[in-house]
């Protein structure tokens, strides 16, 4: 009889242990998911702040797009064409200075 009582008690403790482990795991999972949900708005906030920072430089940007990026692209295109003009001029000079006909 005493042996049966000890066996039941041990089984009970095992069940309790399993339940405790399950609860702990559940709490951990729940805690992790809560922290992920909380992190999302922080990231969004960061990117919004970055966008706002870029936007402050866009003085007068509208249909003509006078942003820094647009002006940078324009100057880059001009520099490329100026180099092309130097090349065209060199070809013209070479032929004008040629002794051959």
């Amino acid at each position: 009889m005493e042996t049966n009582s000890n066996s039941s008690s041990r089984t009970l403790w095992v069940i309790i242990g399993i339940i405790v482990v399950i609860i702990v795991i559940w709490l951990i999972i729940r805690g992790t998911s809560h922290s992920n949900v909380a992190a999302t708005p922080v990231d969004t906030g960061t990117s919004q702040a970055a966008s706002a920072g870029a936007g402050t430089n866009q003085v007068g940007a509208s249909a003509n797009d006078s942003s820094n990026a647009s002006i940078s692209q324009d100057t880059s295109n001009i520099d490329t064409q100026l180099n092309g003009l130097n090349s065209d001029n060199a070809s013209a000079d070479q032929s004008l200075n040629s002794k051959s006909q």
């Binding site: 820094n68 100057t75 001009i78 520099d79 065209d88 070809s91």
Partner: protein, 265 residues
């Protein structure tokens, strides 16, 4: 007797040295006049030399025409009629030179006819004297017009920024002065390029006429001078852009290359 021998030897030596000097002095002229064939060579070797030199001259001209053709095809601002006219000139000359090369290569051993055909590479096809410089000056003019368009677009954007900065309380007098100079330089560049293009548009091959050849040369040199002015204008305008960017504290990716391109002539 001893003195007589010395004097004689001196006279002979002087004569030999004088003859050598005269010979070397005449050498360049001799080399120019006989550049096509070596005197004293056998007829067969003279024929081969004429063919080789003619082929080389023709190949160089066709290469130059191909490069010009590619550039003209990519031109953005010259009229379709002018582009078609230039392309037609290039194609006609390429076809003629290719045909001439075939004729020379199959010319046989008739030195007289070979010499005549070889001379026609230079006399009948004024590739370097007219076609190539005329085409490249037109290409330069086209490029200037492209840059003028880009500069005008950029000018409007920079003016917007200057106006906004002024409204915000920034002193923009220096930037505005640079902007005024930039617009003036760009306008002059456009005017110079248009004049250069017009100056060479109607030039015709001289076909051996020295007066027409001289006139063509004058027109080409004058047009090239206008392109030089336009190029200097655009370089100055580019410096103005850089000054405006500095005044407004606008950082661009091309700031580092500005000094190099702005100094180009």
């Amino acid at each position: 007797m001893k003195y007589t021998q010395k004097i004689t030897a001196g006279i002979i030596s002087f004569g030999a040295i004088a003859a050598l000097v005269a010979g070397f002095g005449a050498l360049p002229a001799f080399a120019q006049t006989s550049s096509k064939v070596k005197t004293g060579a056998t007829p067969a070797s003279q024929v081969q030399e004429i063919i080789t030199k003619s082929d080389s001259a023709i190949s160089a001209r066709i290469d130059a025409l191909n490069a010009l053709s590619a550039r003209i095809n990519g031109a953005q601002n010259i009229s379709p009629a002018e582009k078609a006219s230039l392309s037609s000139d290039i194609t006609t000359n390429e076809s003629g030179l290719t045909s001439l090369k075939a004729t020379i290569d199959a010319g046989g051993t008739n030195l007289t006819s070979l010499r005549t055909e070889s001379k026609s590479v230079f006399g009948n096809y004024r590739i370097y004297a007219l076609v190539i410089p005329q085409g490249w000056i037109t290409a330069s003019s086209d490029r200037v017009q492209t840059i003028v368009g880009l500069m005008n677009t950029l000018s409007a954007k920079l003016q917007t920024r200057i106006t906004a900065a002024g409204a915000a309380g920034t002193n923009v007098s220096a930037a505005q002065a640079s902007m005024t100079d930039m617009n003036a330089k760009v306008a002059d560049a456009q005017s110079q390029a248009q004049a250069a293009e017009a100056g060479v548009a109607n030039l015709v091959p001289d076909k051996g006429n020295a007066t027409i050849a001289a006139s063509n040369k004058v027109q080409l040199v004058a047009a090239r001078a206008k392109i030089k002015v336009a190029t200097a204008d655009l370089a100055a305008a580019r410096k103005d852009v850089q000054s405006i960017l500095g005044d407004l504290k606008i950082v661009t990716d091309s700031s580092a290359t500005a000094s190099a391109t702005a100094s180009a002539q």
